[in-house]
């Protein structure tokens, strides 16, 4: 039976063909019909951890926090990175060129656990992410305002490295991803800005709704609201300061104050 061969790999010819397909299109291009599940890497942000269904960002998977500029994904990504850098080596691949390490420190991050990648070309960033994941990076955050096309091998090999090492790859930014990357994303978290919070005339924070969009791990449609205090000289604390899991129908925008 074909199904048995797929599951067991008993046919040598079929095994060779599967190996070729998986090498070219990623190790998850052909699956044997079993369900997808993953352990989670807790971020310490209750709303995010409760949203994904695995008590954190899924290990061994690619997760995408999507949204237009200004929708909160940038600071959410930095806040998660900063939290995890306290206990794990983390990598930030900055395709956007906008990351300021001062902000990571302001979010409570440990800079001694951070490796910052400034790629000149997209291929460099993807290759660096893969190499550092293989080397043991606990979280790899990739940030871009707009994603450039990339060869099919780059996301496939990154996913392979994440799968084999049990690390977490979080892709932040953009309303769309290159097709080769989209194929390999296990979960999309849609970021939507609900409101700014202000102190006097300065924007001091942001309310964000995070909603599970496409997901191969279930939980589609679940959402939460987060308040992120942005790094400001007068602010005693930056980071995600409030989270709240939403129930269906509770979507009214918040009028927040600093």
């Amino acid at each position: 039976m074909l199904g048995d061969d797929l599951r067991n790999g008993t046919s040598p010819a079929l095994g060779a063909a599967l190996a070729t397909i998986r090498a070219r299109y990623g190790s998850r291009a052909v699956l044997a019909g079993t369900g997808l599940s993953a352990a989670g890497l807790p971020t310490g942000i209750g709303g995010v951890d409760g949203l994904t269904g695995c008590d954190g960002l899924p290990r061994g998977r690619l997760t995408w926090a999507s949204g237009e500029l200004g929708q909160g994904w940038f600071d959410l990504g930095l806040a998660i990175l900063a939290r995890l850098s306290i206990s794990l080596p983390v990598v930030l691949v900055d395709f956007s060129g906008r990351v300021d390490p001062n902000d990571i420190e302001a979010y409570g991050g440990d800079l001694s656990n951070l490796w910052l990648v400034h790629p000149r070309r997209p291929e460099q960033g993807w290759a660096a992410a893969r190499a550092l994941v293989e080397a043991g990076a606990g979280l790899t955050l990739m940030v871009a305002d707009r994603w450039e096309p990339v060869g099919r091998a780059a996301p496939a090999t990154l996913l392979g490295a994440v799968e084999s090492g049990g690390g977490v790859a979080l892709i932040c930014g953009g309303q769309s991803l290159p097709g080769e990357v989209t194929l390999r994303v296990a979960m999309e978290l849609e970021c939507q800005r609900l409101a700014w919070t202000r102190v006097h005339r300065d924007i001091s924070g942001i309310w964000v709704r995070l909603q599970v969009g496409r997901s191969r791990m279930g939980g589609g449609g679940r959402s939460c609201r987060l308040r992120i205090a942005l790094p400001r000289p007068y602010s005693p604390r930056a980071g995600v300061v409030e989270t709240e899991l939403e129930t269906e129908g509770l979507t009214a925008p918040l009028e927040a104050s600093g």
């Binding site: 060779a16 190996a19 070729t20 090498a23 070219r24 206990s87 794990l88 080596p89 990598v91 300021d100 390490p101 001062n102 420190e105 800079l111 001694s112 656990n113 951070l114 490796w115 910052l116 990648v117 400034h118 790629p119 000149r120 460099q124 290759a127 660096a128 893969r130 190499a131 550092l132 293989e134 080397a135 043991g136 990076a137 606990g138 091998a153 496939a156 090999t157 392979g160 084999s164 000289p233």
Partner: protein, 403 residues
């Protein structure tokens, strides 16, 4: 004789220590200053001075002395530290550049190298052309002008390099070594101090003085070192270089039934090639730092090269690389040979029961070093808060360094 003949000819290049060159590259304002580079930790314990500028050496800080002693000898010197990975990267680049000039290259230490200058090469029709190119290549990579000497023996070539100014080459024509060496003081001869002391006692102060003494008399006085002395002074000492030898090749070769142009067909055979190479690497317990795909067709040969971000050993690691190499094929191919290059110890893969951050950090640092080798030094960065940062000016709080 200007044309390069078949007689033994050696070129010697002398340059500042690689660590010092790197330190100067980072701090060009210190070119004329006293600079101490180090400390270097020795396996038996203790820290020693790795390299020093001429001004520091003149104050008594000679490379190899204890670091504390060097600091005491030259207290006003700038003290700089250079990463060992940066030195090894530069050493690798230099070795590759020199091997492009001559197939026989001996890397003596991080301050000098010898090349076989006797081999015929159409690119360098004369010794002067080779010496000039050698100097330019070293200056390009080191950003410091080297001294180059060419002679019939190792000592002659070294002495010629020592006798010239930085950025210049000195050529000692064949047969002229005794005349060139005649005025050299015996102190520069690579002989034990006791031998040189006795030479001075005899009133023999230059190589020319020693060369005029018959060999039997020198041997009677100095034994085997008398013979060496005689050869050194006449320019007849060692005439060979001890080239670095790469480990035996590791590869898989396939001869196809006929010319194949369709890369899809070639890629179908990639898993088999990768699997065989992985088996061979596993048998030797080695990992490949680079992969080369040699391609042959009717009347042509070429090769494609790829450097994985981390050394590859397993089938899963090799297969994407092989597929990438095969995608570059543009002509009908009849022969394929997949070679593993830069063989080294495989990366540690065993899962640790209680992984510690420190171990992972070291592994990530190594991966970052490999990325730097592949993509350049500006790709991966580390950031730290400056310990004595002035106030809270954000731009001045952080120190950036290349990972």
């Amino acid at each position: 004789m200007n044309a390069r003949g078949a007689s033994s000819r050696l070129a010697c290049a002398i340059f500042p220590h690689l660590a010092l060159s790197l330190a100067w590259r980072a701090h060009p304002e210190l070119r004329e200053e006293a600079v101490l580079v180090g400390p270097e930790r020795r396996p038996g314990g203790g820290e020693v001075l790795l390299a020093a500028s001429e001004a520091a050496v003149a104050s008594g800080a000679v490379p190899g002395v204890e670091w504390r002693q060097a600091v005491i000898s030259c207290p006003d010197a700038a003290r700089l530290r250079v990463e060992e990975t940066a030195i090894s990267d530069l050493r690798w680049e230099l070795r590759l550049a020199l091997q492009d000039l001559s197939p026989m290259v001996e890397w003596v230490d991080d301050t000098r190298a010898f090349l076989d200058a006797g081999a015929r090469d159409l690119r360098w029709p004369t010794e002067a052309a080779l010496a000039s190119r050698l100097g330019r290549e070293l200056q390009r990579l080191l950003a410091v002008p080297p001294r180059v000497g060419v002679g019939q023996s190792r000592f002659t070539a070294w002495a010629a390099a020592q006798a010239t100014d930085p950025g210049r080459a000195r050529l000692v024509p064949p047969g002229r070594a005794p005349h060139f060496l005649a005025e050299l003081p015996v102190e520069v001869l690579p002989l034990p101090g006791a031998v040189k002391e006795r030479l001075r006692d005899f009133g023999l102060t230059t190589c020319g003085d020693c060369a005029s003494i018959p060999l039997p008399l020198l041997q009677r006085q100095f034994g085997p070192e008398g013979l060496l002395l005689h050869r050194l002074c006449l320019g007849r000492d060692g005439t060979t270089v001890n080239p670095w030898v790469a480990p035996p090749p590791c590869g898989v070769r396939r001869v196809l039934a006929g010319p194949v142009e369709d890369t899809e067909v070639l890629r179908f055979g990639a898993p088999e090639l990768a699997a065989e190479l992985a088996a061979e690497l596993a048998q030797r317990n080695l990992a490949a730092g680079r992969l080369r795909l040699l391609l042959g067709g009717e009347g042509w040969e070429s090769w494609e090269l790829i450097s994985p971000p981390s050394p590859a050993m397993t089938n899963e690691e090799l297969l994407p690389l092989v597929l990438s190499l095969m995608a570059r094929v543009r002509r009908p191919v009849e022969v394929l040979e997949l070679q593993a290059l830069d063989l080294g110890a495989p990366p540690v893969r065993q899962r640790q029961l209680f992984p510690t951050g420190g171990d992972r950090r070291e592994e990530i640092e190594r991966a970052a070093a490999r990325l730097r080798e592949r993509f350049g030094s500006g790709l991966v960065w580390r950031v730290a808060v400056r310990p004595e940062h002035p106030g809270d000016v954000p731009e001045e709080r952080l120190v950036w360094r290349r990972a």
